[in-house]
């Protein structure tokens, strides 16, 4: 519909509703609005539903077992006859793999962000970034088998007492998986640093590298930190790689060479098994799920706050 007819028709002529093109258009608009609203409500309700299930199941678990056993036991053996419910072995497993991942992804991601934003020619940058982001699109099951059948054997040649399932190999591969997240978000943050700051540094007689390291990177620090936290929370929530390559043995250790079990891998193990619904064993996966949820929520909130502070500062 041409816009001019709308302008002409609007002011004076009161036309019977439902017959003019305007009325039809506004009816369609109302329908579209309602549809869009329904979509967003559906996502909110889904999230609320998940939270509710987590809370209810966790609550009934805690009533039966007590929070003390969860927090002050060092073993996690809910599926054995001799049940222990100390959640720390799983938390340690998650932390260990995530630490390995971040040890790889932080330098790799930040350096490639600096390269793309500050050093690469615009043409190279146009190619580089999408290529890197393809890495983020590889299914994690592929990464998982890559860790198990490629990375672990290679590492075993260097570290003789490395177990077939271990936190190290899963963590390293997970690091490769989250590198594009850091690279891409940190690149955005670096790119958003005002041109005026770079010019100020150049006008003082600074060359490129000092300008990048002392002016541009510090100015983008909030965004870079936010990208790292988002990447860590992705690593914490990652399931397939650790379930396949890190083993399924809850163990309170920070030794990356032995099999461990992460929180996510435990949830997979129980949900894939034949644990009947409604039992205590079954409820443990919701407890672990709640803990995982709180952990990633805390990290996402931190990252959001950092990013906000960073936007204010520039």
């Amino acid at each position: 519909m041409p816009a001019s007819s709308e302008i002409l028709a609007m002011p004076t002529q009161a036309q019977p509703a439902g017959h003019t093109p305007q009325a039809a258009a506004s009816r369609i608009e109302r329908v579209i609005e309602a549809l869009l609203a329904a979509c967003s409500i559906a996502t909110v309700l889904t999230t609320a539903g998940i939270l509710l299930v987590l809370a209810v199941e966790t609550w009934s678990f805690l009533r039966e077992v007590g929070i003390g056993k969860l927090l002050f036991d060092t073993e996690w053996t809910p599926l054995f006859a001799q049940k222990h419910f100390g959640i720390w072995p799983l938390v340690a497993g998650t932390c260990l793999t995530s630490l390995c991942a971040i040890a790889v992804a932080l330098p790799l991601g930040v350096l490639s962000a600096i390269f793309m934003s500050e050093l690469a020619s615009p043409r190279l940058r146009k190619w580089c970034k999408p290529l890197l982001e393809i890495l983020a699109g590889v299914p994690t099951i592929v990464y998982g088998y890559f860790a198990l059948v490629v990375v672990t054997p290679i590492l075993q040649r260097m570290i003789p007492d490395l177990a077939g399932f271990n936190a190290l190999s899963a963590g390293l591969v997970m690091g490769i998986m989250i590198t594009p997240i850091i690279a891409s978000l940190a690149e955005d943050a670096l790119h958003a640093v005002p041109k005026g700051l770079r010019e100020a540094a150049y006008a003082l007689g600074a060359s490129k590298v000092p300008t990048i390291l002392r002016v541009v990177v510090p100015a983008a620090m909030g965004g870079i930190a936010a990208s790292v936290i988002i990447a860590v929370s992705r690593a914490v929530g990652e399931t397939m790689i650790v379930a396949i390559a890190a083993g399924q043995q809850p163990r309170l250790t920070l030794d990356p060479r032995v099999p461990i079990e992460t929180m996510t891998a435990y949830i997979v193990q129980v949900s894939m098994g034949d644990t009947p619904a409604g039992t205590l064993e079954y409820r443990t996966i919701f407890v672990v799920g709640s803990a995982l949820f709180l952990l990633t929520l805390a990290m996402n909130v931190t990252s959001y706050k950092l990013a906000k502070r960073f936007r204010r500062a520039t």
Partner: protein, 263 residues
């Protein structure tokens, strides 16, 4: 610094000489061959309407122009008689001798007042730690900011007012001891009282530094400068002593501009 408020007795030697400079952004030529002598220890103002190429001209003087994408220039610019565009000249080293203050105050957001002043020395790896406090005090005193910030040197530079931020940027430029100070509309983002403080400062600095200032504000050029160049659509229309240019311009276009007929 010993401020010598009396103007130089005789015409000062030429510090920077611009000869036939043409400059492009991509295929768009913005300067069509500009000649301009900039005298030592004096203030040379470059005036003209928006888009006349005055910022581009001043950015050619410390080779900042070439940093913009697709930008290039031709012609000769000499500093103390030496071509700054010759192969032997490292633009990075040149910019230590020819400092620049920008339109919008741009203190480094991650740094305190003190660190902002020292930024140039740190970035160029030439900071002598034992002298850092002296450098900070001297630069801030020279920029007429010391008394206002001496009790909060550790506070973030961005916490200062706009006018203070701009004086901080001037202090930052002075801390690397340049010979020439280029100012690209340094007051355009400031209120009148902050503007007048910067103008007083420019007046004081001319005893020590060679200053070139771009401004779209004619009264400002009249107040602060010894020489004025009028630029129009990439051509230098007129250049003379400021007094003469404003009282008896030779070119009718200059007269039209300074009497407010256009621009």
């Amino acid at each position: 610094m010993t401020l010598n408020s009396t103007p130089p007795p005789r015409p000062s030697p030429i510090k920077l000489n611009v000869d036939g400079v043409r400059a492009w952004f991509g295929t768009n030529r913005v300067l069509h061959g500009v000649d301009l002598p900039i005298a030592e220890r004096s203030v040379t103002a470059i005036i003209g309407p928006s888009g006349c190429g005055k910022s581009t001209l001043i950015r050619c003087l410390n080779r900042m122009h070439e940093l913009s994408e697709g930008a290039r220039s031709e012609g000769s610019i000499t500093l103390d008689g030496k071509d700054i565009y010759s192969r032997e000249v490292d633009p990075v080293l040149l910019r230590r001798r020819v400092g620049m203050v920008f339109q919008k105050p741009n203190p480094f957001p991650s740094m305190s007042v003190r660190d902002n002043v020292l930024a140039g020395l740190r970035l160029t790896g030439s900071l002598d730690r034992t002298r850092a406090d002296d450098v900070v005090e001297k630069a801030l005193r020279d920029a007429a900011l010391w008394d206002e910030v001496k009790d909060r040197l550790g506070a973030p530079g961005l916490g200062l007012s706009g006018g203070q931020q701009q004086r901080l940027c001037i202090a930052r430029s002075l801390a690397v001891s340049p010979e020439v100070l280029l100012m690209d509309e340094p007051c355009s983002a400031l209120d009148p009282s902050a503007t007048s403080r910067i103008e007083d400062l420019i007046h004081a600095l001319r005893a020590t530094y060679t200053i070139a200032i771009v401004t779209h504000h004619m009264q400002q050029a009249a107040r602060v400068s010894d020489y004025t160049a009028f630029l129009l659509s990439g051509d230098l229309v007129e250049f003379s002593e400021t007094n003469r240019l404003f009282t008896s311009p030779r070119d009718s276009r200059t007269e039209d501009y300074i009497t407010g007929k256009f621009g």
